[in-house]
């Protein structure tokens, strides 16, 4: 069972705190998708909130026939379209398939809605992350790159690096620790 399935099961059994984990896990992705429709960041946040509320209310009917994120994504898209319709703005004509969602990041008609502040902030963050990774010991850097950029599971990384899964977990954590130090300095949250 995937962690999403496990979390959904817990929410359906009465553990609301498990839904918090799902929100934190997918909030940035959902805000990212919604911003493609609702360009104002404050409005996008409101629509994202509404999408998660709708998802919680619909959770008893979620059977797991699709992945949780796919299901959540569709709710976010519909919520965005409804929001645009309600505020008399025209939603995009073409529908966006869940599998294509992440590819729309590069779509020119959506990319143009990044604000200069947003671009600068994301560039700063990306640079800080890259700097942190470049300064990592080789095994640690390899582990985090395989995880974040190749999307490999701990088991797959353990096979690729010929080490125990516990070692993979530990290396990835140390990588994140180093990255977190850099990110905190940008966010003004020093130790």
């Amino acid at each position: 069972m995937s962690i999403d399935q496990e979390l959904v099961k817990r929410v359906q059994a009465g553990d609301k705190k498990a839904f918090d984990v799902l929100i934190i896990k997918y909030q940035q992705r959902i805000i990212h998708v919604i911003t493609g429709f609702v360009h104002d960041p404050v409005e996008a946040m409101d629509v994202a909130q509404e999408a998660f509320i709708k998802a919680y209310r619909a959770l008893p009917g979620f059977r797991g026939d699709s992945a949780f994120y796919t299901w959540l994504y569709r709710i976010a898209i519909n919520t965005s379209k409804n929001y645009l319709t309600a505020s008399s703005r025209r939603p995009p004509m073409s529908d966006v398939d869940a599998m294509d969602a992440t590819n729309y990041y590069d779509a020119p008609e959506l990319k143009e809605f990044e604000t200069p502040e947003n671009s600068l902030m994301s560039m700063e963050l990306e640079q800080a992350i890259q700097l942190a990774i470049d300064n990592l010991p080789e095994d640690t850097a390899t582990a985090i790159k395989l995880r974040e950029f190749e999307g490999m599971s701990y088991e797959e990384i353990a096979q690729a690096m010929d080490c125990p899964i516990g070692t993979v977990r530990s290396r990835i954590f140390r990588a994140r620790e180093a990255i977190d130090k850099q990110v905190k300095s940008i966010m003004g949250e020093e130790d």
Partner: protein
């Protein structure tokens, strides 16, 4: 916050926790604000690395915190309250035997009731009487049983009565169906 706790949060970002460890992580996030802040940053950093940057801000949003008041008013779900899929129910053979037996007993009982209702003393139940084929049935106000000398013939007539009424017509056809019963001879 111990190193083990923080490593657990890192594994949570990667979806690598299950069972008891997942329970611990969830409880930890809800009880320790610094743990929650670190988890938010880890997840946020991962999202930036994956390119979800259209709405990057100085600090990661905590929608869960913003939604906590709203979600507090939402119902807590219980497993048995979930919408169930249609299930094919299977019953043991003994169940079907009993059900069949009950059905037969009910049929016999119904026949007995029809018989009882046809007794001369039982006059409170109005019965329809035969008029003519195709005409609206008139409801009789009195029930009188014909006198048949031989019990065997009487039994046969009773059976015909029951059979005929059963096959006279279904729902919605009653206005022009025929119903046979005992009636006073004209």
């Amino acid at each position: 916050m111990t190193v083990n706790h923080r490593e657990m949060l890192s594994a949570l970002v990667d979806g690598q926790l299950q069972g008891q460890e997942l329970t611990q992580a969830i409880d930890y996030l809800n009880s320790d604000p610094s743990a929650r802040a670190e988890y938010l940053r880890m997840q946020y950093t991962s999202d930036v690395m994956h390119g979800y940057t259209r709405s990057v801000t100085e600090r990661p949003a905590d929608l869960a915190a913003r939604l906590s008041a709203v979600l507090a008013d939402e119902p807590v779900y219980r497993q048995n309250a979930l919408l169930a899929k249609a299930k094919v129910l299977t019953f043991p053979k003994t169940f079907w035997k009993q059900a069949t037996g009950l059905a037969m007993a009910a049929s016999v009982g119904a026949l007995a009731v029809v018989g009882v209702m046809n007794q001369p003393d039982y006059q409170t139940t109005p019965m329809a009487s035969v008029v003519n084929s195709g005409n609206v049935v008139q409801v009789a106000t009195e029930v009188n049983r014909w006198t048949v000398g031989e019990p065997e013939i009487e039994d046969r007539l009773n059976n015909y009565l029951v059979d005929h009424n059963e096959y006279a017509g279904g729902a919605g056809m009653f206005s022009y169906g025929r119903v046979v019963s005992y009636g006073t001879e004209q």
